[in-house]
Symmetry: C2
Subunit: 118 residues, 2 copies
DNA sequence: CCTACTTCTTGACATATATCGAGGTAAGTG
DNA sequence: CACTTACCTCGATATATGTCAAGAAGTAGG
């Protein structure tokens, strides 16, 4: 893979025409791909599902670690991927960090990929 | 990454409850993640977009290669990923292979990830 | 048969990444 | 202050993957 992917700010909202409407630009393809990559891991899918289920109260690293067969360091790593993609928001409260899912960010990504959008 | 992902048949239809409805099972998380992985690459997003735009007539490797800055071998590699995930169907006609997007497969994947599904 | 075209395969290579253990920092508790 | 809990960071390691060059294999047209 001699061609390395550029680092791009993803925490902002995704906004580009759906793939089914016309041929996507290279820049938009990259933005979409990076966000999908943040989601394309079984542990992260499970994490997102757990965070979604926790609702607006949020959920902590330790609680998530208890549900999975990985260490807290690994959970922290995955939570950072999801946060950097704008799919989660993290708010520190005392010793704990509470993670809440950003449904609108996930919704925007889903809409771009929807083949029946129009 | 000591824990390697198992190889799973993905060409069949994806069918599992949306992530927003409840906590997803480990097996379903794996299925979803593998399909997202097949999509999580800028070249593949662009390819899917081009194949979608080509409609039911399909489009050939050579035509796709002309639109991208990669070799035909790389395009072939990516087309196989997409096909193995059930997102494309390939039909050989003489010397050429025509690729057509499977909108229902893409739609099923999108529905599972939709945070506003219900 | 010879040539051209299309696709796919293989092997090599560099990069990316998922995971863990160890340890550090900060907050809360007795 | 000591102890615990929660989270993160760092370094190491094994695996995964995107890319290309080279070439094989199939098809078509003289």
């Amino acid at each position: 893979m001699p061609k390395s992917l550029p680092v791009i700010e993803l925490s902002g909202p995704l906004c580009c025409p759906p793939v089914a409407v016309g041929v996507i630009s290279d820049a938009d393809a990259l933005e979409v791909a990076l966000r999908l990559k943040a989601l394309a891991d079984p542990v992260r899918i499970k994490l997102l599902s757990l965070v979604l289920a926790a609702g607006l109260d949020g959920i902590r690293n330790a609680d998530l670690t208890r549900e999975l067969r990985v260490t807290d360091a690994t959970v922290s790593h995955h939570l950072r991927q999801l946060s950097r993609a704008g799919l989660l928001t993290a708010t520190r409260e005392g010793a704990s960090t509470y993670y809440v899912a950003d449904r609108s960010a996930l919704g925007a990504l889903v809409r771009v990929m929807d083949p029946h959008c129009c």
